[in-house]
C-alpha cells in the first residue's frame, strides 16, 4: 500500500503540484489512508531534521557568493579575459562563451546562475556579431551545465550530504569531467563552424590587452584557488570554504574592484536567501520522502529488479545511465539525486564501483538532464533570456547534447578520468 507513494507523487508532479509539496503530500495521504496517522509527524520531523545540517549551509553560501560576483561585475571581467585569450578563433564568441562558463564554474556552483549571468551578456553580444539567436542560446545553455560539475557545486554538496561522501573528494573528481565537457563543446563549435557560417573575430588580442584582461580578472580567478587551497591545506572545512567564498566576493566587490555598493547588499542577501530557502525546503521534503521510501521497502524492490537485469557491472552502468537520463528529463538534478542516490548508490557500491566515481556519473548525467525537455531548468532560463521558445532552444542544443552524452559514457567507462585528481590528493584509495 505504502509503495504507492511513488506513483502518487508522479501524478501530483505531472498535474503541476510544486515538487516540495508533492514529496510530502503523497506519503502523508497514504499514511492517513493506512490509519498510520501518528507517523505523519515523522514526515514533519524529517523535513526539519533534513534541513538542520551543517554541511547543507554551503548551499546558501555558494548562492550568495555567485550573486555577489554577478552584482560586482565579476562575470564581465571573466568574459573579457576569455575574449582576450581565445576570442580570435573562428566562432570566437562561442568559444568565449564556453571558456567563460568554465571559469565561472570555478566561482559558482549552479548552472542556472551561469545561464542568467552569462546568457544575458553573451547572447546579445553574439547576435550583434552575426550569430543566430538560436545558436547563441544553444551554446549558452549547453555550456552552463559545467557550472555544477567543476567545483564548487551545489549538486555535489547535496549528493555528499545524502550519501555521506566527502565533499572535497567529489569536488576534486568533478574537475576533469567539467573540462572535458568544455572541450567537447568547443569541438562541436568547430565542427559546426561552416554549417552555421560562424563569424571570424576581427583580430587577435595583443599581449598587452591580454595582460590587462588577466590583471582585471586576477582577483576573481583567485576564488577557486582560495577555496580548494584552503580546503586541502586544512584551513577550513568544505562548508566553511563556501562562507569564505562569499566573504571573499564581498571583499573584492566592495574594496578591490569597488563595483559593489553597500546599498546593493540587502537585495543580494534577499535574493540568495530566497533561492536557498526553496532548495533547503526541497532537501528537507526529500529526506522525509526518503524515510517513507525506506519504510515501504521500495529501494530493496528496485534494487532486486535492477540486479535482475544483468550481473555485469559494465552493462548495468550502461542501463543506469539510460535510466538517469530519462529521469533527468522529468526531474531536476537536486531532487533526482536525493530520491535516487540512496536507492542506486548501494547497488553499485556492492558491485565494487568506487563511490566517488558513481557519484560523478550520477551527478554529471542528471546535470545534463537540465538541458532536456520537458523538465529542464536551464532550458527554461535560456528561453527567457533569449526570448526563444523552449522547443527551439532544445532543438538547437541537440548537437551539443550528443557531445555531452559521449562525455558521460567516457567518464562511466574510464573511472580514472574522475578519480585521478582526488586520488593524487589522497581522498580516494
Amino acid at each position: 500500500m505504502l509503495s504507492l507513494f511513488l506513483p502518487l507523487f508522479l501524478v501530483f508532479l505531472m498535474l503541476g503540484l510544486p515538487i516540495v509539496f508533492g514529496l510530502v503530500a503523497a506519503p502523508a495521504l497514504l499514511l492517513w489512508w493506512n490509519g498510520q496517522e501518528r507517523d505523519i509527524v515523522l514526515l514533519y520531523r524529517n523535513i526539519y531534521n533534513g534541513m538542520d545540517s551543517f554541511p547543507l549551509m554551503a548551499i546558501p553560501f555558494f548562492m550568495l557568493a555567485g550573486e555577489l560576483m554577478n552584482r560586482a561585475g565579476i562575470t564581465l571581467r571573466l568574459v573579457e579575459f576569455a575574449q582576450a585569450v581565445i576570442g580570435h578563433l573562428r566562432g570566437g564568441l562561442a568559444h568565449v562563451n564556453i571558456l567563460s562558463s568554465m571559469l565561472f564554474a570555478g566561482l559558482s556552483g549552479s548552472a542556472v546562475a551561469d545561464v542568467s549571468a552569462l546568457g544575458s551578456m553573451l547572447i546579445p553580444a553574439m547576435e550583434k556579431q552575426g550569430y543566430s539567436t538560436r545558436f547563441a542560446a544553444a551554446v549558452t545553455a549547453a555550456s552552463s551545465i559545467i557550472g555544477p560539475i567543476i567545483p564548487p557545486s551545489g549538486i555535489m554538496i547535496i549528493y555528499a550530504y545524502v550519501m555521506g561522501e566527502s565533499v572535497a573528494a567529489l569536488f576534486l573528481a568533478g574537475i576533469v569531467p567539467g573540462v572535458m565537457i568544455g572541450g567537447s563543446l568547443m569541438l562541436i563549435v568547430r565542427l559546426l563552424a561552416d554549417k552555421e557560417n560562424l563569424p571570424q573575430a576581427t583580430r587577435r588580442a595583443t599581449w598587452g590587452e591580454r595582460g590587462k584582461a588577466s590583471l582585471n580578472a586576477f582577483w576573481p580567478l583567485m576564488t577557486p584557488v582560495i577555496i580548494m587551497g584552503g580546503i586541502l591545506g586544512g584551513v577550513f572545512t568544505p562548508t566553511e570554504a563556501s562562507a569564505v567564498a562569499a566573504g571573499y566576493a564581498l571583499l573584492i566587490g566592495l574594496f578591490v574592484l569597488r563595483s559593489l555598493k553597500l546599498k546593493d547588499i540587502p537585495d543580494v542577501f534577499m535574493r540568495s536567501g530566497l533561492t536557498s530557502a526553496v532548495v533547503l525546503l526541497l532537501v528537507g521534503a526529500a529526506m522525509a520522502f526518503k524515510t517513507v521510501a525506506s519504510l515501504s521497502h521500495t529501494p530493496e524492490l528496485l534494487a532486486e529488479i535492477i540486479l535482475g537485469l544483468s550481473d555485469n557491472p559494465l552493462v548495468l552502468l550502461f542501463l543506469i545511465n539510460i535510466l538517469l537520463f530519462i529521469v533527468g528529463m522529468f526531474l531536476d538534478a537536486g531532487p533526482a539525486i536525493i530520491i535516487l542516490g540512496p536507492i542506486l548508490g548501494p547497488i553499485f557500491l556492492s558491485m565494487g564501483i568506487d563511490p566517488v566515481h558513481f557519484a560523478i556519473v550520477m551527478a554529471v548525467n542528471l546535470t545534463v538532464g537540465l538541458l532536456t525537455p520537458p523538465m529542464g531548468l536551464v532550458l527554461f532560463v535560456t528561453s527567457s533570456v533569449s526570448r526563444l521558445r523552449v522547443e527551439t532552444v532544445a532543438r538547437a542544443t541537440f548537437p551539443f547534447l550528443l557531445a555531452e552524452i559521449a562525455v558521460i559514457f567516457l567518464i562511466t567507462y574510464f573511472p580514472a578520468l574522475s578519480l585521478t585528481i582526488p586520488r593524487l590528493a589522497g581522498f580516494v584509495e
Binding site: R38, L42, R45, S166, G234, T237, T291, G426, F427
Partner: protein, 328 residues
Amino acid sequence: ADITLRATANSNENDEDYDGLVVFKNYVENASNGAIAVELFIGTQLCATGEECLQGVAGGSIDIYISTSGGAAGIFPYIQVLDLPYLMSDDRVAEEVLKGDFTRELRAKALADSDNKIRLMTIGNTGGWRNYANTSKTIKSPGDLKGLKMRTVPAALPQQVATAVGAAPTPVPWPELFTALQTGVVEGTANGITDIMNMKFTDAGLKYLTLDGHSYMGAFWWMSEDTFQGLSEDQRKIVVDGFAALQQATFASPKRKEIAAYQEFLKAGGEIYVPTPEEKAVFKDAVAPVFDWFKTEVPGGTEVFDMFNAAVASAQEAVDAERAADLK
C-alpha cells in the same frame, strides 16, 4: 502478536546497539510466546537525533530508543556524569555500577523530569571506552596534548575535559570529521576503537592511539512510560528481563568486536600506546577542575556526582572483594 514494540537505534547493524536489540527481541518474543513482537528500525529511518527520537518516545511514535549521554543531555544534563573522565577503573567496576541502584536512581530522576513520559530501562555500553587518538604523535601525558586540535561535540562537558588536559577543543560535526582529520582542520579525536575503524579514520591519517580509557561509552536505553505501564504485570516482567539480557549483551559485544578493530587499526599502520598507571594518574590529576565545573554548572550535578561516586566506591569494593576471594 497482540503488542508490537517499535525499537530504534541510530547506528547500523555492525553496532553493539544492534547486538543488544537482537538479544532483546529474541528474549521478549520467546518469553511472551509471541504475544509481544519487537520491530527494529536501525539507522535514521524514524528519527535522526537524540532530541527528535526522545520526543518520539515521549509522544508515543517510538517505544524503545537508545541514546548516548550526549543525545539526551539536552533534557537530562546530569546523565553526562558517565562522561566524567577516569572515575571508574575498569569494565568490571563499570558493569557493577550500571547493574546496581545507580541506574534506578537515574530512572526516577528522568521520569520526574519528563512528566512521567520517558523511562530509563537500563544502561549498557556502546563502543567500549573513549581513548585519545591523533594524527601526529604518541600521547603519554597531558603535555603531549598541549595545543592539539582535538575534535569534540559542541556540548560543554567534552570541551571542559579537552581544555583541562591542555588540548584545543575544536567542534566539528561528525559528517565532516573524516575530511577535517584528513586536511588537518583537527588533529585528534576521542572515540572508541570500533567507531574509529567503522569510519575508516585511519585512511584520514589517524595513527596514534593512547589507551587511556578516559570515559565509559554508556548506552542509555529509554522506553515510553505509557507503553511500559500499558503492559500487564507479566509482560512488564518479560520486558524488564529482556533489558537485563540486552545489557549483558552490550557489555560483551564491544569486548568481542574490538579485537578485530584493533587488528585492523594496526594493519592500517596505527600505533597503540598503553599508558602506565603513573601516567594515567597524571591525566586524572589534570582533569580535576572538570569535576568542580560539573557540580556547579550542570543542573542536578552535585547530587548525581555524589550518587555516582558512592556507587563507584561500593562497586569497587565489591569487585575487590570478589577478586580477593577468587585469588585465594
